[in-house]
Every structure is written in C-alpha cells, then in structure tokens.
C-alpha cells in the first residue's frame, strides 16, 4: 500500500507539484494522468525517492524518508519512461542488476539472487532469450525485460512512468495485461503515469488527474474521465462512452465548422 499526502515538489525554484494527495491499496493500480508538464513523472520520481519533496510518502504505513537507499529500493521498483539499456549487456545480466538493493556495498550476487532473476525472467516470459544482447530486442521484448529487472528486486510497489509510450497498440496491451496479471497474482501495488486516457481507464482502479501540479479530479475511471472534466483540464473536445466492461472509452471529436 502506498499513501501520498500533501506532496509538494519544487525544481529549479519552480513549483511543480503542490499539495498532491492520493492512496493506492495493496494489489491496486493507481494511474496519474494529465496534460503534458503537469508533474506526473515528477510525482513518480518523488515517490521513488529520486527528488527532494515536502509532504509525506508512506509505504505500508512507514514514512518513506525512513527507508533510505537499498531499503527503499527493495520496497519500490522504478521503471522510467526511457530506461537506459546498455546495448551489449545480456538480458540475464541486466535482470540481475535488479538484485542490487539486496547486495551490500561491495556485494556480488549469489545463488539466491540468480534464482530470483531467473524467476522474474520466467514471470515475464523472457527466459528463452536470457543470453541475447539488449540491442537485439524488439520494443515489446525490451519493455518486458525492463519489467523483469524491476520485479527481480521483489518489490511491493511498482512505479511505471509511461510504460507503453514507445509501443504499438498490440505491445501496449501485451505489456499492460502482464502488469495487471502480476499485480493480481503478486499483490503488487502499481503506480503509473499514462498518457492515453482510454488505456488508463481500462487498467487502473483509480485515476488521479493532475492539472498544473494540483489534483483536478480523483476517483474511479468513470468518475474522472468525463467529457466535462477532460474538456476543462485538457481543453479537448472528446466523446466518452462506456465499454462492455463498464469502463470509459475516450474518443477525440473534431470541431467541424
């Protein structure tokens, strides 16, 4: 479970986030949405402990400030929008880097770390190309490998910054279904940012809509993704209808003169 209260972030003297609060339950999926530059990624990085912030971030009831360095990294796995993939590194070596939070300063991975990395590769179905170089992966395979590295640390919270921004629609669905399956089977709490409103509404239990660094709306996808709210926050004309599963589908509508 993750609880964020009154999160405020100032970067280079600019107030990027102001008084943002939200909560995601264990095994839940909360997605931050909002126009470009509203602080979605900043919020994620603050939760990961990568930025200084004011306010409180609690992980399973513990103030995240009390969890420094490797302890925090064991609890929270962070996948940035554009992960750095050393091109000549093998999939197996890359996934094994995910065990770093479990090693001492000069520690080297042991048998249990290798077993955890193999298990993560099995979970994401990438074990068959464990010896392949990262430069030889397709976009979808690459994203699965990055997720395997994140899961190898055995986190309770998974932070995903635009996990599907570089993928075609088929690979988007494949990756998001995988994440959905993992959070249900492993009680993993997922906190993501997603650009595509329909996709965000399809997968997340809770949406938090940010506008200019503040929460403009929060709640279930059906309550947040309304034509009125999207029009107000994005300045976009859209049509929202409910899909067969009761979740909202957002279609842009052109203003025809």
């Amino acid at each position: 479970m993750i609880s964020v209260h009154d999160l405020t972030v100032t970067l280079d003297r600019n107030l990027v986030l102001s008084g943002v609060s939200f909560e995601a339950s264990e095994g839940g999926w909360l997605s931050l949405i909002g126009p470009n530059g509203t602080g979605k990624s900043t919020a994620l990085r603050a939760v990961a402990g990568l930025l200084p912030y004011a306010g409180t971030v609690s992980l399973a009831g513990t103030d995240a400030r009390a969890l420094r360095g490797r302890r925090r990294a064991r609890a929270v796995a962070y996948v940035p929008q554009e992960p750095v993939l050393p091109p000549d590194m093998t999939v197996a070596d890359y996934v094994l880097l995910g065990r770093t939070p479990h090693l001492g300063y000069l520690g080297v991975p042991g048998a249990s770390d290798r077993a955890a990395a193999v298990a993560a590769m099995d979970q994401l179905d990438v074990a068959s190309f464990a010896g392949r170089r990262l430069s030889h992966m397709s976009g979808g395979e690459r994203q699965r490998v990055v997720l395997a590295r994140a899961l190898a640390s055995g986190p309770s919270v998974l932070l995903l910054d635009e996990p599907t921004s570089m993928l075609d629609i088929g690979h988007q669905q494949q990756v998001l279904e995988l994440v959905d399956g993992l959070r249900r089977s492993s009680r993993l709490t997922v906190l993501s940012t997603l650009h595509d409103l329909t996709i965000a509404g399809q997968y997340a239990d809770t949406l938090v809509l940010l506008s200019a660094g503040r929460v403009a709306a929060a709640g279930s996808p059906a309550s947040v993704l309304t034509e009125e709210t999207i029009g107000r926050v994005y300045g976009a004309k859209v049509e929202v209808r409910l899909g067969p599963d009761g979740r909202p589908v957002v279609n842009p509508v052109r203003n025809v003169p």
């Binding site: 402990g49 490797r70 302890r71 925090r72 929270v76 992960p83 091109p87 000549d88 000069l106």
Partner: protein
C-alpha cells in the same frame, strides 16, 4: 567467450609475454636457461640454471625489473581506463583525461628543469604529485562548472573541465620548457614514455599504491555495471552514484599517477585493452576489469619488448610503439562503438 576461459587465456598471454620478453634482448640468453633460472626462483623448486654470473645479472637486475614494471604499468593503465570508462559511461575516456597526464607532464618537466640536482628519483615523485594535482584541479573545476558536487552529477562537465585543465597544464609545461631549451630532449624522452630505467626500487615504491588502487577498482566493478543504466536508475536501485564515482576516480587517479611515475606518458593502453576485453567477454566490468588488468600487463610487456629490440641496440620510446599500434586501433574503437554517452 566464457569468463573463466577468458581469464585463463589472459593469464597464459601474460605468462607468454613475460617469457618472450625475458628471452629476447641484446644479451643473447639461452631460453632454456632463462626458463630454468626463473623456475629456480619459485619456492621449493631448485634447478641448475646454466646462466653465467653476468647473464644472471642481466636477467634479474635489468630485464626482470623492466618486465615487472611494464606489466604493472600496463595493468594499471588498462584497469584505470576501464574504471574511467565505467564511471563516465564512455568507452573513449582513459587515464589521460581529467588532467592526470598533463599534470604528470608538468610535474616531471618542473623536476627536470628546476630540481635536476636532487637526483633521478625526483622526476617520478614530481610526476606522481602533478598527476594527482591535475585530477584534483579538474574535479574542482568540474564542481565550479556544474555548480554542484563534482562527482555527484554533470559527468560531461567534469570531462570538459578535465580537458580545459589539461590544456592549461600543457601550456604551463610549454612555457617552462621554452625557457629551458637545454633540457628539451630529456623532457621529451620522458613524455614519450620509457621503461628503460625501471628498477626493483621503483617497482617497490609504487607497489602499495598500485595494490590499493587495483583492489578498489576490482571491488567496484559491479557498481560500475549498475552505473551503466544511468545515475537515476542506479539511485533507484539503491546505490549512490556520486560516492561510487568519487571512489573510482580517486583510485584511477592514484593508479595513473603510479604508472606515469615509473614509465612517463604511455597512451592508448587504457582505451584499446578494455575495448578488446569488452569485445571478447561483453560489457560487464566484473570481467572487463580483471581481464583489462591481465591483458594490459601482457600488452605492455610485449610493446616494451618491441621497443627495445626493433632498433637494437638503440631503443624506441614505448609511447611511440603503443601510439603506432593504438592510433589505428582507436579508429577501430570509434567504428565499433555503438553509443557514446557522457
């Protein structure tokens, strides 16, 4: 290639390089007798060597200290190159960056020009101090330039500061030289690098610094692997890139200073050897670092053998040999490098 096989091959390469270097030279030593004499030095092994007193002196007082110094310097330069390439995530960086070589050059020049009367031991000490000072000034320059902690962020700024400091120190060296043209040849002989004056005493002097810096670099090789995913992701994995960078750069500076103190400036070893290691075993520093250490040692021993035999009885500066091999190899590195990040 598997890691164990690669390390085994590197050990064989180093041993072969040492043996070839011990056999070959102006004094015509019988290879069998040389091998016997070397084996005789191994504890609990006693073999009649068949070498005369003079041949023994050539082998143990002239060739062997030179071979050991060459192996030590080559290993230091190569593992330092691997270390720098790891912290800067750039395969084209080596120990000559960050003002280390230029600082050593200025230190040696000042020693030759102004402190010549203090004896031959002055030059390596001055080069050692100059090298460390060069890195220190470059790091401070990087800190001022990026307005942050030098090792914590802004690796590109740190590299650029190193280049600027290097140019400044080289200009200062040229100024000193211009006012003392009578020692020009002596200074240039040092700048081109040579192991011709290597002694056991020199080897013993740099051994503690070499051992510490090599141990630190090898122990941090996994941290360098983690840094390869970028500072932000490394931090998300629970490590502190700034601390790792500070420790590794300090160890590299100490290693480079130890190497130049013995041999003068020898280029390209720090780029070419780690690159070959990466091509053979992949990018993980847990294997690239030890492989560079062994490969660099063997490479420089062979390069020095060439340097002292090709134009025998006169000698080529070893820096010329490594540059002649290294320059085309550097182009190959550029060609085969996929990404260059700073």
């Amino acid at each position: 290639m598997k890691r164990a096989a690669a390390l085994g091959t590197a050990v064989i390469f180093l041993v072969a390089a040492v043996l070839v270097s011990a056999f070959v030279g102006a004094a015509d030593l019988n290879p069998v007798n040389v091998a016997a004499a070397l084996a005789d030095k191994v504890p609990f092994i006693h073999i009649r060597t068949g070498l005369s007193q003079l041949d023994q002196a050539v082998l143990f007082q002239i060739r062997l200290p030179r071979i050991v110094a060459g192996a030590l310097v080559g290993g230091l330069l190569a593992v330092t190159g691997a270390g720098y390439q790891g912290v800067f995530r750039n395969p084209l960086v080596d120990s000559g960056m960050l003002g280390a070589s230029a600082g050593a050059g200025l230190g040696a020049t000042i020693a030759i020009v102004y402190l010549g009367g203090l004896g031959p031991g002055t030059v390596p000490i001055a080069a050692f101090i100059g090298s460390l000072a060069g890195v220190g000034i470059a790091s401070l320059g990087g800190a001022v330039g990026s307005a942050r902690i030098a090792f914590g962020s802004g690796t590109a700024t740190l590299l650029l500061a190193g280049l600027a400091v290097g140019m400044f120190l080289t200009a200062a060296q040229t100024f000193v030289l211009q006012r003392s043209t009578q020692v020009l040849q002596q200074v240039y002989a040092w700048l081109l690098g040579s192991l011709s004056g290597a002694t056991w005493q020199q080897v013993l002097e740099i051994l503690p610094y070499s051992a510490i810096s090599i141990a630190v670099l090898l122990l941090h090789s996994r941290q360098l692997d983690v840094l390869s995913v970028g500072d932000e992701e490394a931090r998300a994995l629970g490590i502190r890139p700034g601390v790792v960078r500070a420790v590794v750069i300090s160890a590299c500076a100490l290693a480079a200073a130890s190497a130049v103190a013995v041999s003068g400036l020898i280029g390209f070893v720090g780029i070419i050897v780690p690159h070959v290691a990466r091509r053979v075993v992949g990018p993980s520093y847990t294997i690239v670092a030890p492989l560079s250490l062994l490969g660099g040692a063997g490479f420089l021993v062979l390069a020095d053998t060439l340097a002292r035999t090709v134009l025998s009885p006169s000698e080529l500066p070893i820096g010329v040999v490594t540059a002649l091999i290294g320059s085309p190899a550097f182009i190959w590195v550029l060609r085969s490098t996929r990404t260059v990040e700073t």
